[in-house]
Amino acid sequence: MRRRSRLVGVLWRWHRRLGVLAALFVLMLSVTGIVLNHSSGLGLDRTFVDWPWLSLAYGDGSADLPAYQPGQNWVFRAANGRVYFNTTEVAPCSGHLVGALQAGELFIAACAEELLLITPDGELLEAVNTSAGLPVPVLGVGLVEADAVLQTSAGWWLADLDSIDFSEPAAAGALIQQHAPGVLPDVIRDDIPAQESWLSWERLLLDLHSGRVAGPLGVLLVDLVGVVLAILAMSGLAMWWLHRRRRRPDTV
């Protein structure tokens, strides 16, 4: 009997502590969850957050993002994840822009997880990602004479863009030409659609709900809150069961 009382005491103490710890998160998860369930009806996917400091926290330092100038053209990845060829939007590109160059008539925008092959008119010829065998993360892109080469953590690889093959290493000691990043000229930046209209309320709520707003650590934190809630449920059930047994008269 005394042992059971001690167990209930320990359970109650931890249940209370964890409850206080989880309360704020439970409120946040409940509110964001309910609102997300109605996000389309509320138009949250079409209205945008107009808080510059939050956009900055999301990495929207549009003014600081690198741009590359192969030939007379500019290649730039805006904060909304889309690559622009001068002022023409080409396509979304996964990962930060790590380089761009012109190989023959083709332009290559190299993002960390995807290559965009672009025509001189700014049309997307092909997007090449891991599903097509692209080794990632791509660290850079360059030219060995007229051949495009990719840099990964394992070294430089010849980029055969016709057969989409990246398995042949670049010749050791070859001279690799790369474009240095530059700052996008204002005359082009001003013609790119306003960058502040990419962070929708729905995305912000989703990121709050999943913890992604604080990066990978935020996701782990939300996972931990999930574990705490499971413990609370179990400790609550255990206390209820023990309390019920204590109130019931012992019968033999």
Partner: protein, 174 residues
């Protein structure tokens, strides 16, 4: 350190590792694995279809949608074609593999999913609904496909890509 705290630490570490893997996982199937599922061990050579102005206009008329890319890749052998195509569900591209034989879809696989919602489309309970479907005269699939709540845009993307793949199959004489 007591045995109890050690076991707590191990449990917590396991949860963190599992969470880290679940965050990183967006590539579900590699290209070669999809082609192996479509063709077995005899993978045919990759071929290229150029989406010229005429082809794009014809595709738009037939199925109401064309991808951005001017160059599409496909594989063809013994009357069967396999396509790897991308479409944007809400914000980010979904990479799909579609195998077609006798003008009917044999299989649909989600190779990569990058959106924050709608990943349920990768499960066989959804993709298997496409098996056996063909392209009707009105440019839609020959039968309806049950959607998934919360994944409407992703479901629509798969539907669009499936219709385009069927149309492309007839284009290359699959």
């Amino acid at each position: 350190m007591t045995a109890r705290s050690v076991s707590w630490s191990i449990g917590l570490a396991a949860i963190l590792v599992m969470a880290a893997f679940s965050v990183a996982a967006e590539e579900y199937l590699a290209r070669d694995d999809f082609l192996r599922l479509a063709f077995g061990d005899s993978e045919p050579e990759m071929q290229t279809l150029w989406m010229t102005e005429d082809t794009r206009a014809a595709a738009r008329d037939a199925v109401g949608w064309v991808p951005r890319s001017l160059r599409l890749r496909y594989w063809q052998a013994e009357g069967r074609t396999a396509w790897i195509l991308e479409d944007i569900g809400k914000d980010k591209p979904i990479t799909l593999g579609i195998a077609i034989s006798n003008n009917q879809i044999e299989r649909v696989d989600v190779l990569a999913f990058r959106e924050s919602r709608g990943w349920e489309i990768r499960y066989p309970f959804f993709t298997s609904q496409f098996s056996g479907l063909s392209l009707a005269d009105d440019g839609y699939l020959s039968d309806t496909v049950d959607g998934i709540t919360g994944a409407t845009l992703s479901v629509r993307a798969v539907d669009r890509v499936a219709r385009l793949a069927l149309w492309l199959d007839t284009r290359v004489g699959g």
